[in-house]
Amino acid sequence: MKILAIIPAYNEEDCLETTVKEFEEVCPNVDYLVINDGSKDHTPEICDELGLNHIDMPINTGLASGFRAGMKYALKHHYDAVVQFDSDGQHIPSYIPLMAKKLEETGCDIVLGSRYLAGEKAAGLRNVGSRIISHMIRMATHITITDPTCGLRMYGKQMIPLFAKGFDLEPEPDTMALLLRNGVTVCEIPISIRQRQGGTSYLNPFRASRYMLRTLASLVLFVWFR
């Protein structure tokens, strides 16, 4: 199975090198593509100097658009599966072969990582949001996704053209619900996640509430009609 890891990077000079080096060591058989999303720090120079496989977006277009560029690359180069991988070191690469195995064994379209299946206890505001989203997805689809906001997701071959060409399909929980309603199958594997290894989080309180608002509006109103 030919797998591509999409690693979106926006101003990640602090941790990109470590993340990709670890990735190459642990998963030598998995290709990766760093999407430099118009970073204003030294991310593009790091990509060039280390000879990382990367593309440079001329302007900052956001995570969803960067991911979509990666999906277009995967489509062009005939990959069988794509995994979403954070550049900040939160994701542990050794789970990727496990996810690929699960994808092949179960024939699912999407494999999601779940921190809660691994026994992590929910706490804090972020987890309250995650629980609400999980509940809304269950109402819309009758399917339980235990950890909808976890960013480590693997997409099978059928999903690649969908994300490469689709309108407003962000790699986010509401899209998962929409796909589930359209007959796409999803399964989960237990994973754990590290603290980010450097740089600053994209999510400040304002962005977090906007994210929550968007996801809920999408789940309450649009999943039913899209």
Binding site: D168, S218, R226
Partner: protein, 114 residues
């Protein structure tokens, strides 16, 4: 507020909601950009359901008629929205120009290296 006006307000809100959902369905608007209109529809529903809110604020700000407050508030809201749309459009123009410049430069690089 007469019951007829209340019904009109609610009907307006439902119409907005219908148009927004239809547009999202038809892939004419991003969910991100639809949030404002969803919020506006909810705001109108609240005003239609609880007109006491309008009466209260009309008294506080000294409006002669509650309807005037509704007009003023919605005009102000739409002006702000219009300005923000203009500002967003400016940014979009700049970004399109930047992209055109980048593509032109990349094309010339390709020619140079041939």
């Amino acid at each position: 507020m007469p019951i007829f006006q209340q019904i009109l307000l609610l009907a307006g809100a439902l119409l907005i909601l219908g148009i927004v959902i239809h547009s999202v369905h038809k892939k004419r608007i991003l969910i991100d950009d639809s949030l404002f209109w969803i919020a506006l529809a909810l705001f109108l529903v609240i005003l239609g359901a609880f007109p006491q809110i309008v009466y209260f604020f009309a008294r506080v700000f000294g409006f002669q008629s509650p309807a005037n407050l509704v007009f003023a508030a919605i005009t102000a809201l739409l002006l702000i929205k219009e300005f923000r749309t203009s500002a967003k459009l400016s940014l979009l123009k700049d970004r399109v120009n930047q992209l055109a410049q980048e593509i032109a430069l990349r094309d010339s690089n390709d020619k140079d290296s041939k």
